[in-house]
C-alpha cells in the first residue's frame, strides 16, 4: 500500500517562560492510503500537538523544532506558512472535537460547505452547492437542500459533526485528521458517526489519523494504533495486537483502568501517580515512575524501540530480548 503520510523523528517544542520544552520527543509513524491509524493516550501526551504539527496550526509559542513530515511525497516542514495554508483542506483536512466551535455560527451551512470548493477547486457557486448537497447525502443528512440555508445553532451535535465530515470529504484530501470527533457526542450518536466513518472509508482514497482516548472507539475504527505517553511513542501495532495483546505496561494499564461493560467481575486497576508535566525532565523511560515493572535500567536509559513481531513495535526495556 502507498504511504500517504510519513512522520519521522518529529520534535515539537513549546516556549514556556522563555525556555523551549519538547512536547513531542521524536515521534515516527506512517499512514497508508485507505488506512485508519488511531493515536491514543491521555491528555497532554501529544496527540493533538501531533495533529496540529501536521496541519501547521500550532499556537504561536510552539514550533516544529526538528524531524520531517512528508505528505503525499512532499516535505512539509520546509514549506512556508503560506504554502502550507494552500494545502490545508485540499491535501489534509481536519475534523475537530467540537463541531459547534469548528463551524462559524454567523455563516450558513451552505456557505461553509461551499467555501472550500470555491476556493480550492475554483468551482462556481451553483456547481459547489450541487456538490455540497451530494456530500450531505453521503453522510446521511436528511433534507440536504434545506440544511444549506440553516445555521449551525439550528442543528444537533450529531448533525453538525456529519456536516464537518462532509465538509472535509468534499475536497477529497489525501489525509483526514479527526481529533476526538465523537468524544462530545452521546454514545448512540457516536455509534452512528463511527458506523458512518467506517462506511465512507470504503469509497475514499484518503488515509485517516484518528485521535481518541477511548480504547473502545479504537477497537471500532482502527486498522493500526499508535500509543503515546508524555510525548513519546511507546507502542505501535495492528489493532488486534494493541487491544488483544498489548506489550507496553502503559498500554496494558490503560486497558485495565477502563471498566468493561461486558466483564462479570471487573477489577479496576488504577495506574498510580500522575502524568509528568511537559517541563518535567525524567531520566530514563518517561513512564518509569508509574510503571510496576520498572528496573534500574528503566531509571537510567531511554528505551529503544524494537519491532518484536513485524508491524508491532514497543519501546520498553522489559520486552525481552528473546521476543525481539
Amino acid at each position: 500500500m502507498e504511504k500517504i503520510l510519513e512522520v519521522k523523528d518529529l520534535v515539537t517544542t513549546f516556549r514556556i517562560a522563555k525556555r523551549e520544552y519538547p512536547v513531542l520527543r521524536g515521534i515516527s509513524f506512517d499512514i497508508h492510503r485507505r488506512e485508519t491509524v488511531c493515536m491514543v493516550g491521555e491528555s497532554g501526551c501529544g496527540k493533538s500537538v501531533t495533529a496540529l504539527s501536521i496541519m501547521d496550526l500550532l499556537p504561536v509559542n510552539a514550533h516544529v523544532a526538528s524531524g520531517s513530515i512528508v505528505l503525499d511525497g512532499q516535505e512539509l516542514t520546509t514549506l512556508s506558512h503560506r504554502a502550507r495554508n494552500a494545502l490545508r483542506g485540499e491535501k489534509a483536512g481536519m475534523i475537530f472535537q467540537e463541531p459547534m466551535t469548528a463551524l462559524n455560527p454567523l455563516l450558513t451551512i451552505g456557505y461553509q460547505l461551499t467555501e472550500g470548493l470555491r476556493y480550492h477547486k475554483r468551482l462556481d457557486s451553483k456547481t459547489a452547492r450541487e456538490l455540497a448537497v451530494q456530500y450531505l447525502k453521503k453522510v446521511g443528512v436528511a433534507n440536504p437542500v434545506e440544511r444549506l440555508k440553516q445555521f449551525p445553532f439550528q442543528l444537533s451535535g450529531g448533525l453538525r459533526q456529519r456536516i464537518m465530515i462532509a465538509l472535509v470529504m468534499s475536497l477529497q484530501p489525501s489525509l483526514i485528521i479527526a481529533d476526538e470527533p465523537t468524544t462530545a457526542l452521546d454514545v448512540t450518536i457516536q455509534k452512528q458517526v463511527l458506523a458512518l466513518l467506517n462506511a465512507l472509508k470504503k469509497d475514499m482514497d484518503a488515509g485517516i489519523l484518528f485521535i481518541t482516548h477511548d480504547l473502545g472507539v479504537v477497537a471500532e475504527i482502527a486498522d493500526r494504533v499508535v500509543v503515546l505517553y508524555s510525548g513519546m511513542k511507546v507502542e505501535e501495532g495492528p489493532v488486534e495486537a494493541i487491544i488483544g495483546a498489548p506489550r507496553h505496561p502503559y498500554t496494558q494499564g490503560l486497558l485495565h483502568a477502563v471498566p468493561n461493560v461486558d466483564a462479570e467481575d471487573f477489577v479496576i486497576q488504577a495506574i498510580p501517580g500522575t502524568l509528568p508535566h511537559v517541563t518535567e525532565e525524567i531520566r530514563g523511560c518517561r513512564f518509569h515512575p508509574r510503571c510496576p515493572y520498572a528496573t534500574e535500567r528503566c531509571r537510567q536509559e531511554t528505551p529503544v524501540e524494537i519491532e518484536f513481531v513485524p508491524g508491532h513495535r514497543v519501546a520498553c526495556w522489559n520486552v525481552k530480548e528473546s521476543a525481539r
Binding site: V187, T188, K191, D214, G216, L255, V258, P259, N260, T274
Partner: protein
C-alpha cells in the same frame, strides 16, 4: 445485604423549566424512586435526559415543580415530620432549614477546576466549610483539614497550594474532601470522574469506594459512562427525556436489560475488544426529541425498534417485572 433503610424517597418528582413565550422544558416527569442508605445509586442516560437536573432538584438547588423528596437521614427540630417515621419533605423546607440539612447532603461537580476558587488555597477552601458550619477553634479546623487532605490521598503540603498548582485528579480530590468534610450521609456525584483521564479516573473511583465502605456514605452517581456504572454502582436508574425507563440492580441490568432503550444504549458502548466489524450491528436511529415538545405516549417510541401502536398513544407505567427490576415499557405489560 442485611436490612436496608431508605434514606431518600422521591415521590412523583417533577421539574419543568419555563422558557420564553409560554414554552416549557419538561426536564423531569414524575420520578418516583427510593434510595437506600449506604448504596451506590447510579443514574445514566444521554445528555438532556434530566439526570443532572434530578441530582440538583433532590438537593433543592432547583425548586421542584411538584412532588416530594423525603429524607430519612435525620430528624430536624422545629420541623414537623409530617411524612412518616422521621421523614422530612425537603421540598417543604424553608431555605434556612434546608441549609442545616446541607451538611448531610453534598455534591461533587464534574469540572474540578470550575468548582474551586482560583484565588483561594486548597486549605482555606476546605477550612471554610468548618468556619461556616461549626464552632471549632482555628487550630482544630486546620488539623481537621490536614487529616481530610490525607484521607483523600493528598499531602499535608497541599494545604498551601492554589488550584492551578494541582492536576485535574488532585483538584477533584479537593472537591471530594470539601464534600465529605462534615460527614455527610448523601453525596451527589455529578459526572465527577468524567473529565478525568482514565488512569486518574480509576484512582478516584477507588477512593470513592473506600469512603463509601468506611463511612456508609450513600452516593447518587450521575454519569453517561456505562462501564463506570457497571463497575461502581449497586443499582442503576436509566433515564430518557426526563422519564425513568428502567431501574434494576447493576448486575441484573447489565446481564438482562429489558427496556429497548437500555438495550440500545448498552449496544452503543464501544468495547475495547477485537471483533469482526463486518458483522451487521444494531444501530439506534434518529436523535433524542426535544424536551419542549416531548412526543405523546412513550417518550422513546420515536426511535424504538420494538414500538407498537399503543406506544405512541399511551405512556407506559413503571412496573416491577421481577424483584427489584422495574421497567416502563408496553412490551413487558
Amino acid at each position: 445485604m442485611s436490612e436496608r433503610h431508605v434514606i431518600l424517597e422521591l415521590k412523583k418528582l417533577k421539574k419543568y423549566f419555563p422558557i420564553k413565550r409560554g414554552l416549557v422544558v419538561h426536564a423531569l416527569e414524575d420520578i418516583s424512586v427510593s434510595i437506600y442508605e449506604g448504596e451506590k445509586f447510579g443514574v445514566v442516560g444521554e445528555s438532556g435526559c434530566g439526570k443532572s437536573t434530578l441530582g440538583r432538584t433532590i438537593l433543592q438547588l432547583y425548586p421542584p415543580t411538584s412532588g416530594a423528596c423525603i429524607y430519612y437521614g435525620r430528624s430536624l427540630e422545629g420541623v414537623s415530620p409530617a411524612c412518616g417515621e422521621n421523614g422530612i419533605d425537603l421540598t417543604k423546607l424553608r431555605p434556612q432549614e434546608m441549609r442545616v440539612l446541607r451538611r448531610d447532603m453534598q455534591i461533587v461537580f464534574q469540572d474540578p477546576a470550575a468548582s474551586l476558587d482560583p484565588r483561594q488555597t486548597v486549605g482555606s477552601t476546605i477550612e471554610e466549610v468548618f468556619k461556616i458550619n461549626t464552632d471549632y477553634a482555628p487550630s482544630v479546623r486546620k488539623e481537621k483539614t490536614l487529616v481530610l487532605l490525607e484521607k483523600v490521598g493528598l499531602k499535608r503540603e497541599h494545604f498551601e497550594y492554589y488550584p492551578h498548582q494541582l492536576s485535574g485528579g488532585q483538584k477533584q480530590r479537593v472537591g471530594i474532601a470539601r464534600a465529605i468534610a462534615l460527614d455527610p450521609k448523601f453525596v451527589v456525584l455529578d459526572e465527577s470522574v468524567s473529565a478525568l483521564d482514565v488512569s486518574i479516573q480509576a484512582q478516584i473511583l477507588l477512593l470513592l469506594e473506600a469512603l463509601n465502605r468506611e463511612k456508609n456514605l450513600t452516593y447518587f452517581f450521575i454519569t453517561h459512562d456505562l462501564g463506570v456504572v457497571k463497575y461502581f454502582c449497586d443499582r442503576v436508574l436509566v433515564m430518557y427525556l426526563g422519564n425513568v425507563c428502567e431501574l434494576a440492580p447493576s448486575k441484573v441490568l447489565f446481564r438482562s436489560p429489558l427496556h429497548p432503550y437500555t438495550v440500545s444504549l448498552l449496544d452503543a458502548v464501544p468495547r475495547p475488544v477485537v471483533h469482526d466489524r463486518a458483522q451487521k450491528e444494531r444501530i439506534l436511529e434518529g436523535e433524542v426529541p426535544s424536551a419542549i415538545a416531548p412526543p405523546p405516549g412513550c417518550p422513546f417510541h420515536t426511535r424504538c425498534p420494538r414500538r407498537m401502536l399503543l406506544c405512541s398513544k399511551e405512556k407506559p407505567e413503571l412496573r416491577e417485572i421481577e424483584e427489584g427490576h422495574f421497567v416502563a415499557c408496553h412490551v413487558y405489560a
